[in-house]
Amino acid sequence: MRWWQIRKRDADLARELQSDLELEEEEQRERGLSAEEARYAARRAFGNTTLIREQTRATWSWSWLESLAADLKYGLRGMRRNAGSTVFAILIVGLGIGGASTVFSVVNALLLRPLPFRDPGQLVWISNGETYSTQAEQYSDLRDQNRSFSDLAGWSGAYSAGDKELTGNGEPERLTSVPVTQNFFTLLGVEPLIGRSFTKEESEGKYSAPPAMLLSYSFWRRRFASDPNVVGQKLTLNSQPVMVVGVLPASFDFASVFAPGTSIDIFIPWPLTDNTKPAGNTMQIVGRLKPGATIQSAQAEFTILAKQLELQHSERNPVFPRLVPLEKHVSGQVRPALVVLMCAVGVVMLIVCANLSHLQMARMGTRQKEMAMRAALGAGRFRLLRQVLTESVTLSCCGAALGLLLAVAGTRGLAHLHAFNLPLLESVRVDGNTLAFTLLAAVASGVLFGLAPALQVPAYKLREGLQAAGRESSGSRHGWFRDGLVVSQFALAGMLLVGAALLIQSFLRVLDVNLGFQPERAAALRIDPGFLIPTLAQQNSYVDDVLRRARSIPGIAAAGISDVLPLDGDRSWQVSAEGQVYDKNHHPEAFIRVASDGYFEALGIPLKSGREFTESDRASTEPVVMVNETFARTLWPGQDAVGKRVTQDGGRRVIGVVGDVHHGGPERMGGLEMYLPMRQTGDYAAMRLVVRTALPPEALAAGIRTSLRPIDPNLPVTEFQTLQGLVDKVVSPRRFLVMLLSGFAGFALLLASLGIYALISYSVNQRTREIGIRMALGATRGLVRRGVLTKTLRLALAGVALGTLGSFALSKWIESLLFGATHHTSRQNGFSPRSSSSHASARSTVRSSGYTLKYCFSGPTFPLRPSLKRGLA
């Protein structure tokens, strides 16, 4: 039988029963009974016809669907009757599930969904030590000699944003290009959408003059409006013609996987045979394991290979290969934060369930009579339980529909947050997995919050239920359960609050870190000339010209030129003081910056001793260098660095020492830094004008461009960066976590307060009569109020106490995400990291407990008023 025939069949059954009943009646009449007696006798013989019909229907194969539909219909009708509380419940579930699904989509994109490559499980990230990249020569030998990988490929970590200038095709524009090895796309399993990948010949040219390029999908869409005819054309990059050989597919988003928060426009071949390629550790390596090879065996092989290579080629930089699955490399750093978020969402969902459970139980209390009547009419326990659960699941599914809308909006929002440098954030969206998760969350929470009221059902005894209808007869029995719900809501909300408070505190501490420069009111613009500068003298006159013009713009307090900005770039050299010998494996390594005069003033980097670069530090004068304090302390401990000499770059004399800059972001200490004067070297990849202004930096952009146009009419108009923006980007993952977690904590607190409000107003309503009698007997309003408040307070206190205990455990657990105890406070106050961070957590615990308590004081006074009046009437 098909389900759509059920109606017809049901009518048939009714007719069958009716005809048989009439026959019985006729037979009774024939036996000599009166018409009325015969009817009663027949009915007695038959029993409960409704029940017979129900039981018969239960044998039909699709009957469950029908009874589900009936329950659903009934549930919906009930929801419409209680529109107020239904809307409230749907809103709560919707917000809870919306948050949960949004976080799940983030987790799904970052941790669960495979990377957008072929067989991503076989891909391995091969770094040099923890974070460094590898020398290209070492890469070539590793690639040729290993047996674990079917192939290795790499890209140049030394690429820098906006290093190629596109001209002759509309507005000039700075592009970011990444040099990749010829097999890079083949290894990842990425097929160009149009055209082809690089050929062998194209990968054997000159590093500085690539013959071919591949366009990223987003750049192709933006600049060429997805015109397929661009493939095969020659474009002008840095004044050289470069052939477009293909366009990469939309699914291949290099930046979101390997360099979150940036955008990559084009890919160029990296000729490993060319000796002009950038020296030093620049190769970022990805390998594809052979079938059957494990990462452990590969690691063992590479460790041995690296030792052999070091013996054979002592002139190269040593390599310490460290193999990590690519998936882990990409999402590893955000994993703990995501786990915390997922747990927070779980806690919020628990609170949501506790809250609704409460609401449903209160509703069940008023439906006691209905349930008793149903039981009297023959409904079994299981049948009633199923009905109550159907109602709660219906409710939660309505909430989930709302939640899904919120999640779609939420993920859209997140995917467009380019300011956050989290990997794969662009691919966050609501997909099949998220839908399944939402459905699961809806059903699970529906069952969870429906279970307590549903289990309450059989407790209604027939007579008791019918007589005491409306009055709470099972109150004392379930009182502890309600109290427990409120206490646990407070405990959970308390823990969330403490967690959020701890993370906010460390976020603020991160923002408070003295970065070593002043990002406020500082901005940078790329000003690489569009023409080639053949000699140092010509370069210096360009520098002079730019600086003179920039400084004459009103509102600019200082201006300088540099090749990289703070928090960016990681070119490093091994450095040594003159006359010193260092152990090869512990050789001091310094970050190299090329800067002009005015740079330190523009960024607000303080000069500690000696002097800064001046306009007169030129190619013709003595080679000089500036270093930071850590550099000075490391190379010349206990001595004055000014006047000492380093052996690098033909030997240079230190003329000044400046403060340390946090190179890797506020949470990491900077290392050694060495500044080369721009007028004495041509060894840099970019020119960035850094200005400090009295005006908002945005207002300056136009002025700077117009005043520089006469020098270079092709100067691209894009990319005017504020330093504050750079800092914001670096702290954005933490901001992301803090934002979401405080949202959840606030929501949880709101729910917990609603929970206690509902409980108190409910219990006061239950006790209206009692309170009325008490007051008639002389109890004052204050006395009654105190009684209610005492109960509220007791519950809240119990919850907060439990939550406080829980948050001590919690703060241990999230310690890895907390910042601040390690660098500053601990050093200055002499605290050990652990004790100071638990000190901080204890403080936050107490503080948020206070907030929680304050909330519940304001809650329960409302329900007292109307109910008292009614009680006395």
């Binding site: 039988m1 048939d12 059954l13 007719r15 069958e16 029963l17 005809s19 048989d20 009439e22 026959l23 019985e24 006729e26 013989a45 038959f46 029993g47 409960n48 029940l51 017979i52 039981q55 018969t56 239960a58 044998t59 039909w60 194969s61």
Partner: protein, 120 residues
């Protein structure tokens, strides 16, 4: 109280065998629910009182399994339509199966209960 216990015994007995009894009754020819119930009741001298709450679900279950088919027909003596159930070929086979199972079962029970009977 005593009556209730008796009734429980009867229904308990019925539950496993009701299907078989209905199929056997239909072997005589088509019959409607009321007739089937009455027939079983009469044949057992009212020992098995037909519970309508079991009869109709059982009939529908048998129909669902394809052991009986039903059709609305006019009763020869009443001039009204009743829903008549008829045994199918499948139902006939099922009856044989259930009958032999029942026989085995009752013989086994008998051997345990009255071992003397076997000796004689």
């Amino acid at each position: 109280m005593a009556k209730q216990t008796q009734q429980q015994q009867r229904t308990g007995l019925l539950q496993g065998t009701l299907d078989m009894l209905i199929l056997r009754t239909l072997l005589y020819g088509a019959a409607h629910g009321h007739q089937i119930g009455k027939h079983i009741q009469r044949t057992t001298n009212d020992f098995l009182q037909m519970q309508h709450g079991s009869l109709y679900p059982a009939l529908h279950r048998l129909e669902e399994r394809g052991w009986v088919v039903s059709k609305w027909e006019v009763a020869p003596d009443r001039n009204r339509e009743f829903k008549y159930y008829r045994l199918t070929e499948k139902g006939r086979k099922q009856l044989l199966v259930e009958e032999s199972q029942w026989k085995q079962m009752s013989e086994a029970v008998a051997r345990v209960m009255w071992p003397a009977a076997e000796e004689s």
